[in-house]
């Protein structure tokens, strides 16, 4: 008969439980409110930046220590995909800061008109070229290079012409779908100018194949499919430091090496002006720069206090750095692409 005369003890317990539940709920709401009060800084970047082993997580933790904010990464493919997304979003973008464009994209990025000057002092960079831009702030850089296995290629080529004269097989990436691919296009153009078509024609029998992206090409190289692969001078550092494998090296070319400088910029329409500025400043501090070498496997734009990690001293240091300004890069790339297509389509 207990369901007709409910047990008072049980009733009390139920009421107590209800109170606890309500309290918990209220607490959760309050917590959510506190969390919401924290301003959110939205940083757009490319996908590999935000991976567990990329720079993103460490940088987020370091910045959130002082900013009293929530740093939120939003990622889109690679640098070119990132720019395409920003173009689609236009001024309505929710990005406060964009990290991950490079100097080959900045002309087009500037055209969108969505970026604002960073207002920072550009002195004290540790880069092979003098780079001045009011809007796009460099955070890391690297040289494109052909990477090989020292056991398989005892005498690496010393120039494009050397490579063309050898019977080495290389895998490169398509400039239409890949950042390093575009870098190589500009590398040959910057080094050889008018002679670029000639160089490509000479290289055509050394090019085993062309891939959509860097990953396929590098994977093919590691499987022993090709003798060399288009990558960065810093690639051997990964194998040396992370895998304790000293067998990979980058070939130093007398032609010089083309630079990739990766940049960040503040979005003009940001609703978090102060935080965005704070993040732009943070980019040049040790807390950001020291993370770069062993997560992004690039050189930091400004050397951190304790220098580069052990192992980086083994990398080649090209004597000549090649780089088109943003405007020049935008101008020459279509012509360079036509030359590339013509030479390799024969």
């Amino acid at each position: 008969m207990s369901f007709l005369h409910p047990n008072p003890a049980r009733l009390r317990m139920e009421s107590a439980m209800r109170t606890t539940l309500i309290a918990t709920g209220l607490l959760a709401l309050a917590n959510a409110a506190i969390a919401q009060e924290k301003p959110v800084l939205t940083v757009y970047t490319y996908d590999s930046f935000t991976a567990d082993w990329g720079p993103g997580p460490q940088i987020e933790a370091a910045f959130e220590q002082d900013c009293g904010c929530d740093l939120k990464f939003v990622s889109a493919g690679d640098g070119a995909a990132l720019l395409a997304r920003l173009r689609l979003e236009g001024e309505r973008t929710e990005a406060d800061v964009v990290v991950g464009l490079d100097t080959n994209l900045t002309a087009a990025a500037a055209e969108t008109g969505i970026f604002a000057p960073h207002g920072l002092d550009l002195a004290g960079f540790d880069m092979p070229v003098d780079y001045q831009d009011e809007t796009f702030l460099p955070y890391d850089w690297g040289y494109f290079a052909f990477v090989y296995d020292v056991n398989a290629v005892p005498n690496p080529p010393k120039s494009f012409e050397d490579l063309a004269a050898s019977d080495l097989k290389v895998v490169i990436q398509d400039p239409r779908s890949s950042t390093p691919g575009l870098g190589l296009l500009l590398w040959v153009k910057a080094a050889h100018g008018e002679r670029a078509p000639e160089i490509w024609e000479a290289l055509s029998d050394n090019i085993l194949t062309v891939t959509k992206g860097w990953s396929e090409a590098y994977g093919m190289f590691l499987e022993g499919e090709a003798d060399m692969v288009l990558s960065y001078t810093t690639s051997p550092a990964y194998h040396l430091i992370a895998e304790e494998d000293p067998s990979k090296a980058a070939a130093a070319f007398e032609d010089g090496h083309y630079l990739q400088i990766e940049v960040a910029a503040k979005v003009a329409s940001t609703s978090q002006e102060a935080l965005a500025d704070q993040f732009m400043e943070f980019i040049l501090t040790d807390a950001f720069q020291a993370v770069i070498p062993e997560t992004n496997w690039m050189y930091p734009a400004r050397l951190p206090g304790n220098g580069l990690p052990e192992g980086f001293e083994t990398l080649i240091a090209p004597e000549r750095a090649l780089l088109y300004s943003a405007g020049e890069a935008a101008q020459v790339r279509e012509e360079a692409l036509e030359e590339w297509l013509t030479a390799l389509s024969r």
């Binding site: 993103g56 990622s75 990953s215 590098y218 499987e223 692409l337």
Partner: protein
């Protein structure tokens, strides 16, 4: 009037599904076109890309289908231990992510691959896989399984009674071919060819990597160039339209060539093949099965072998990514089957040939869609309304489902037609309509194709299909995205481990649904 209401009931879910597919394919194309600033024409290099696309797709589809016929025949008339498993495994290349498949193929046919290794023993130079023939080889590797499966379904659809009758009339294998198999092939082959032709037209990364350079530029790569290199949305939309037109023409030709299946219905009996007992035929079939198994399973084994070392180092984030991918795959499988059944019933309910063709044709649109344009168009459509990243996973499931729909339609539309032809009159005379008809007439007989469709959709969906790369959520990566991230960070071993995990889960999902469907059918 009751009839009319009944046929409307069968019509509207299909029409909704068709509208949804049209919105996701043509609608997204329109969205991209409307955002374009100006319309350029096609350049000579675009025309070269179109020519190359047509040529390689034609050759790839022709070879895939031609090779699939003897393999399917062998599988149809032989029973041996492990046959079911073999049929499932043979389907695996079709569901592999492109990058994994390319590395697997190269491990066999590359400069440093198994075949070159054997050549080396004999003192021959390594084989050169890069070029037109490489593209075709890769496409046959991907599509032979699908072609085999589609043609095998055709063989299995010949009622057992016919083979009985043929045996009692003393038909030799040759007579059987002429009287039963050739008419079936005439009905099945144009469709199989068309599906594979269309799949090959949208190929990009494989064609480029194995084609050896920009000679192997396909329309999809030209779309990429327009989008990324030139940011010319008008041209991207125009090229995507060209891709639709190519596929529409191919589909039209296939329908024109299509001969409806002849002959009456059977009684759902098990097939016994008295004609195929000659030792010569047994040897021939064994050779075809063995050759196909070697060609398809060797690269897969290389994927497995290279993935094992990396499996152990995969962390919790890969496990979470895998769970997300399974959730997306199951959702996609369910949506695909629901939409395909709805479309199949609608096609069945419609009377006119043109109307049937139109509704079914819309269902096939997604196969010709450029993933990049669909993704971009969706982004343009969603961005003003909500944060695209917040709906990344549901959108992935929906788009994946739509991309898998054509394969489901390919098997479900003829299956529904067949069931209706065989049992429609009986059901009508018993006044079985609505749910009762679905439950007692269709579903028991459709469980095999439904299981196959759900399995294929789930398995394909595990591979992500690359549509939503533009708004992937960094906090909620799917397994393929995680694999690409590992690769992009030099972690090739772990990436190979993730690839193996992906392959295993895809095959397992496919097997569960496909097997489940067939167990029900046997009961």
């Amino acid at each position: 009037m009751a009839d009319r209401a009944q046929s409307l009931m069968r019509l509207w879910p299909g029409l909704i599904a068709a509208a949804l597919v049209a919105a996701l394919t043509l609608g997204t194309l329109l969205a991209v076109a409307l955002r374009a600033e100006g319309w350029g024409g096609l350049s000579p290099s675009d025309w070269a890309a179109i020519r190359f696309t047509l040529l390689q797709a034609f050759v790839s589809a022709a070879i895939s289908v031609a090779l699939a016929v003897p393999v399917a025949r062998a599988l149809a008339r032989r029973r041996f231990p492990g046959r079911g498993l073999l049929v499932t495994l043979l389907g695996a290349p079709f569901i592999l992510p492109v990058i994994v498949a390319v590395l697997g193929l190269l491990a066999v046919f590359g400069r440093n691959g198994l075949v070159s290794l054997v050549f080396n023993w004999f003192g021959w130079p390594p084989i050169h896989i890069y070029g037109q023939h490489g593209v075709v080889l890769a496409h046959v590797f991907f599509n032979l399984p699908l072609a085999t499966r589609l043609i095998l379904l055709g063989w299995l659809s010949i009622p057992a009674e016919r083979f009985r009758l043929a045996a009692s009339l003393g038909f030799a294998a040759r007579d059987l071919t002429r009287e039963l198999e050739r008419p079936m092939l005439k009905a099945v082959l144009p469709g199989a060819f068309m599906v594979i032709f269309v799949i090959c037209t949208t190929s990009f990364a494989v064609a480029l990597a194995l084609g050896g350079g920009p000679r192997a530029t396909t329309v999809e790569l030209a779309i990429y160039q327009a989008f990324r290199f030139e940011f010319d949305l008008g041209k991207a939309a125009l090229l995507a339209l060209v891709q639709f037109l190519i596929c529409a023409v191919a589909a039209g030709l296939a329908m024109w060539l299509h001969v409806p299946e002849g002959g009456g219905p059977g009684l759902d009996r098990n097939v016994e093949r008295w004609d195929a007992r000659r030792p010569g035929l047994i040897l021939l079939d064994a050779a075809f099965i063995l050759a196909a198994a070697l060609f398809l399973l060797l690269p897969l084994s290389m994927v497995v072998a290279s993935g094992i070392p990396g499996l152990a180092s995969l962390g919790g984030s890969a496990a979470k990514a895998a769970m997300r991918s399974v959730a997306v795959a199951l959702a996609a499988g369910a949506i695909t089957v629901a939409a395909a059944l709805a479309l199949a019933f609608a096609v069945q309910a419609l009377r006119g040939r043109a109307e049937k063709g139109l509704v079914e044709g819309i269902g096939y649109l997604s196969i010709a869609a450029s993933p990049l344009v669909v993704g971009t168009g969706l982004f343009i459509l969603l961005f003003p309304v909500l944060d695209p990243v917040s709906v990344a996973l549901p959108v992935t499931a929906l788009v994946n489902a739509m991309m898998c729909l054509p394969f489901a339609l390919r098997v479900l539309v003829p299956a529904v037609e067949r069931v209706d032809r065989q049992f429609g009159h009986l059901a009508d005379s018993l006044s079985m309509t609505g749910y009762a008809r679905l439950r007692h007439v269709y579903l028991p007989r459709l469980s095999a194709p439904v299981g196959f469709s759900a399995g294929l959709a789930a398995a394909l969906s595990m591979g992500d299909l690359g549509v939503v790369a533009l708004f992937a959520d960094p906090e909620a990566a799917t397994l393929p995205l995680q694999m690409y991230r590992l690769m992009a960070a030099y972690r090739m071993d772990e990436a190979a481990g993730a690839g193996l995990l992906l392959l295993t889960m895809s095959v397992a999902l496919f097997w569960m649904f496909d097997r489940g469907g067939r167990i029900n059918a046997d009961a």
